[in-house]
């Protein structure tokens, strides 16, 4: 009931803005309303997961197509994703109460924002293909409108264009997938899809279509191209939701079909997903580490993290097909845990970026610097987010990556050579992605928040308003919390995994509560709680020892800089120079990065120039070629517009004869 009430409040809020949108106060009010409704949905999700009865309340509403009612159902998976969606949504809404006042184009954003939230939640609770797809489309459409909010900028228009075509592509894939799942009976409820078993062609086809449809929305390489364009183009609180949450809704679709509706997914698909996930993880972070725009960097990092989740899902499928149920549970829990963590971390980081933009008006790393001293709260919260996404213990990002690695290390038990050889390679990819993520965020944080300000705007920045600050701090606290009590979280996730795999996730209890030890207690264990306590103790001992034994005096002075200090902040390392070693050693081959330095002759006082050229292999290799192909076909089809009447008649005639032939052949069979 709570869910229904909260959900129906959202469209009303949207209506409110459309009617009274001119007034300034109403925007804050609407966001506050969104916050309350998200909190209610979080409570509902927690309540459902906490009671653990396994029951799934359903609801049938008499609207939609005349012969088809709309079905809704909240099971454990939906409840978990209600949490994953609404915790960041609550944060983004709370942030937006203060943040939207700074937006020039807020009247183009606020009306769609509640609808966007509504659509995402509706996808989660929908129990038939009709509701699912309509809500899915609604989600794409509302977010597309918000991407277009600042439509005067060229790159935003391009982003919206690419986004729209990819969204259409995604639906184009999902529609036949659900058609195949429903089978000839035409019953589009999920309940009947579960009972319907798929043929040898339809089964794999559904998996492929769903992987492409949901994968493009989630941002899997090579279908990620729209994501780093569209996510940064929207206002930051919307970017946070698109990156942190909408990709999770896409993953929900993937899990719903592959683990619930689809009866049997072969291990080959699991292996394929692992490889796609591994490639997404490495490519995503490689792109990210080269970016100079803070929000684009964050969007590419989303590609990386979605890849990590998909590695977990792929492993779970492979294990499940092989009958290794407890390992499948481990892998699925790992994937879900990472999805939850990434939702929290990425919304924290995007909202932090929003705060930076509010304070400085700059998104480019090259114009930032020294913000930690000027925005201490935002800076500290962003640091937690950066450390969490770099998978540093004891924060949450580490726990889920640890679980993914643990399940990956068990991958070779699947007795197929493709898995045996694929798993180490994917493992290397995952490890590489994790390490590069740390590099990426040291770079982003170090350039934006540390050092000296590189522009006047950065030098004059002050911290954002209290509401925005507290939202960031709350999210940062959540990052710490989700990492410090891993066993509690995995217990909750185990409830979700149970109905999907028929077995629950075994945290072996021999070692006691704070120890996370999947599989068995000698297989490998981790305890964030113990590590934090001992680490803090050692930290304290170190400080106490040094301060007691040594000299406590401290003097502020100019930087030494090897004896050659330079006042000009332009002499600091920039984002581009920080990435240079990686560019030369890795990106030179992956992105064909070419650097040219023009040094003036001695005596010539013109400045030396350094220029950098990189090409995006996936954009150039896949999308531009595809666009060229489509243009070619369009040109051919275009000729059809200029035919004589007789030729048109001929075409129709040929079509008719062809259709008759098809009917005749089918009747013969």
């Amino acid at each position: 009931m709570l869910i229904v009430a909260a959900l129906s409040a959202l469209p009303l809020l949207s209506l409110l803005t459309i009617v009274w949108g001119r007034g300034g106060a109403v925007h804050g009010l609407v966001y506050a309303g969104c916050f309350l409704s998200s909190v209610a949905l979080v409570a509902a999700g927690l309540d459902h997961l906490g009671t653990q009865t396994g029951g799934a309340p359903t609801l049938v509403l008499p609207f939609g197509l005349p012969w088809l009612h709309a079905h809704f159902r909240v099971d454990n998976l939906s409840a978990l994703f209600l949490l994953i969606v609404n915790v960041p949504a609550a944060a983004a809404s709370a942030f937006a109460v203060g943040y939207s006042a700074h937006l020039a184009e807020r009247r183009r954003v606020t009306p769609f924002y509640p609808l966007f939230l509504f659509a995402m939640n509706a996808v989660l609770v929908g129990d038939d293909a009709f509701v699912f797809l309509v809500a899915w489309e609604f989600m794409s459409l509302t977010s597309w409108l918000m991407v277009l909010a600042d439509h005067r900028r060229d790159e935003n228009r391009k982003a919206a264009m690419v986004y729209l075509s990819m969204a259409v592509f995604g639906t184009f894939c999902l529609l036949p997938a659900f058609g195949l799942l429903a089978g000839g009976g035409g019953d589009y409820t999920f309940a009947s899809m579960r009972l319907h078993s798929l043929g040898p062609v339809a089964g794999p086809l559904v998996v492929l279509l769903v992987l492409m449809g949901a994968g493009s929305k989630a941002g899997l390489v090579p279908l990620h191209a729209w994501l780093p364009l569209a996510h940064p183009a929207a206002p930051s609180h919307v970017s946070a939701l698109m990156s942190g949450v909408m990709t999770k809704v896409a993953l929900y679709g993937l899990i719903r079909v592959l683990f619930d509706l689809h009866g049997h997914v072969g291990w080959q698909w699991g292996a394929a997903m692992m490889v796609v996930g591994g490639v997404s993880a490495v490519m995503g972070v490689l792109y990210a580490v080269m970016q100079d725009d803070l929000k684009t960097l964050l969007a590419y990092s989303t590609v990386e993290n979605v890849g990590i989740v998909v590695i977990g899902l792929g492993l779970a499928i492979a294990f499940k097909d092989d009958g290794e149920k407890s390992l499948a549970a481990l892998a699925l829990v790992a994937g879900l845990y990472h999805a939850l963590n990434h939702a929290v971390i990425k919304s924290l980081l995007f909202l932090g970026a929003g705060a930076v933009i509010t304070a400085t008006g700059e998104r480019s790393l090259g114009a930032l610097g020294g913000l930690l001293k000027r925005m201490p709260w935002t800076g500290a919260a962003f640091l937690v987010g950066a450390a969490a996404i770099s998978a540093l213990p004891p924060l949450n990002g580490f726990v889920s990556e640890w679980l993914v690695l643990q399940s990956l290390f068990k991958g070779p038990v699947v007795p197929h050579w493709a898995m045996k050889f694929g798993v180490p390679v994917v493992g290397a990819f995952l490890a590489l992605a994790a390490a590069l993520a740390a590099t990426c965020f040291v770079r982003a944080y170090g350039i934006a928040f540390l050092g000296r300000p590189r522009s006047a705007a950065a030098a004059e920045a002050g911290d954002v308003s209290a509401g925005m600050r507290w939202t960031l701090v709350a999210l940062a606290a959540l990052c710490v919390g989700l990492g410090a009590i891993p066993v509690t979280v995995t217990d909750a996730l185990s409830v979700v995994v149970q109905p999907l795999l028929g077995t629950s996730f075994a945290v072996s209890s021999d070692l006691g509560w704070p120890f996370l030890s999947p599989v068995s207690n000698t297989r490998g264990s981790y305890s964030g709680t113990v590590l934090v306590m001992v680490g803090l103790a050692l930290f304290g001992i170190a400080i106490a020892l040094v301060h007691r034994m040594g000299n406590n005096r401290m003097r502020a002075a100019d930087a030494w800089d090897c004896g050659t200090p330079e006042d000009n902040p332009a002499t600091q390392y920039t984002g581009q120079s920080f990435a240079q070693p990686l560019r030369r050693s890795i990106a030179a081959t992956v992105f064909q990065a070419r650097e040219t330095v023009v040094m003036p002759q001695p005596g010539d006082d013109s400045p030396a120039r350094h220029s950098l050229a990189m090409t995006d292999p996936i954009w150039n290799g896949l999308y531009l070629r595809l666009a060229w192909l489509i243009n070619l076909i369009a040109d051919q089809v275009n000729r059809l517009q200029f035919l004589t009447v007789r030729r048109y008649l001929l075409m129709m005639f040929c079509t008719l004869v062809f259709l008759l032939l098809v009917v005749a052949v089918r009747q013969q069979q």
């Binding site: 493992g427 390490a435 040291v442 050092g451 000698t522 264990s525 590590l531 030494w560 030369r584």
Partner: protein, 321 residues
């Protein structure tokens, strides 16, 4: 002798916490002394690092105007994370309290915490040198950390666990022969250890030549007690890697749970012996080899990563998996 079951693990744990800190400067001092001898110099006494650290703590700390609180917190975080990591690796006995709190993956990540903070501290003051150091350090880490995880992968395939203490138990149980994979993993491990500790040929711990330094460039602005913390962390880290190599690849002599004080004494003696051998080998190696160019790091560490991968793949040929 009826103690609480946690008595022995906690006792040995505390002993190890102290030992990790106490031996680290000696190991570094010994390597320096022996290198000096190999170069034909007399060299400072192996105990000099203790004096150096003490001297640094007595000095006033100078902090740049542009530095933030990260600059002041980082030395302690870096030191505490290295110290904590050193406490987790079984050295003389596997019967330590913290053994189940972190496995190899967590250990790798714990070392990443220290590196993350050190790199941030390098960038905090806003000088070009700090940036150079941080950027190069992260390049090294980007490849060394995956290599380490691949080593963990192959060891976990052999022994069925990622827990150092359990790996030791597995090896000491006589379950493993001389596998090709373990040889490859050892080679990769040594390469990673060299890179992570900033030793020749990746970095030169003694250099202050701007173009070649990595670790020194990051900590250029530090002084006084902060510098002491960072130096101590580097020393602990070197000892830690030696302990890790000894623990994973040559655990012989280590005491197992249930061993009495004699067993622990034997373990202690063998651990010190192993440290001495590794330190000697390091000094010999560093004397014999020249530093490489920065842009060859990727080849070197990529090689370590591929060795780790090979170690895993080769397990399928031998009957280990």
């Amino acid at each position: 002798m009826n103690h609480h079951p946690l008595f022995a693990p906690i006792l040995w744990q505390v002993l190890q916490i102290v030992l990790a800190l106490a031996t680290a400067p000696l190991v570094t001092g010994y390597v320096r002394w022996f290198k000096a001898r190999l170069n034909g110099r007399r060299g400072p006494s192996p105990f000099q690092p203790y004096r150096d650290l003490y001297r640094l703590t007595q000095k006033e700390a100078v902090i740049a105007h542009s530095a933030s609180w990260i600059f002041r917190a980082a030395p302690y975080v870096v030191f505490a994370s290295a110290w904590l990591a050193a406490c987790l690796i079984p050295t003389f006995t596997t019967n330590i309290f913290l053994a189940p709190a972190a496995d190899m993956i967590a250990l790798v990540a714990l070392l990443a915490v220290g590196r993350f903070w050190l790199a941030l501290a390098g960038m905090d003051v806003g000088t070009a040198f700090g940036g150079i150091g941080a950027s190069r350090e992260m390049l090294i880490a980007s490849l060394a950390e995956p290599a380490m995880l691949m080593i963990t992968f192959s060891l976990s395939l052999v022994s069925g666990t990622t827990q150092p203490a359990q790996i030791v138990a597995f090896v000491l149980g006589g379950n493993v022969g001389v596998e090709v994979s373990i040889g490859l993993a050892l080679a990769a491990m040594i390469m990673v250890a060299i890179a992570e500790n900033g030793r020749v040929p990746i970095d030169n711990p003694a250099t202050h030549l701007e173009l070649t330094m990595v670790h020194e460039a990051m900590v250029l602005e530090y002084s006084g007690r902060h510098l002491a913390m960072i130096e101590a962390a580097a020393m602990v880290k070197l000892t830690l890697y030696m302990a890790l190599i000894a623990c994973l690849f040559a655990p012989w002599g280590m005491a197992q749970p249930g061993a009495g004080p004699e067993g622990v004494l034997v373990g202690m003696g063998s651990f010190l012996g192993k440290l001495w051998m590794l330190a000697t080998a390091l000094a010999l190696f560093e004397t014999a080899i020249a530093k490489m160019r920065v842009f060859r790091y990727a080849d070197f560490l990529g090689g370590a990563l591929l060795l780790g991968l090979l170690a895993t793949i080769f397990l399928y040929v031998s009957e280990a998996v």
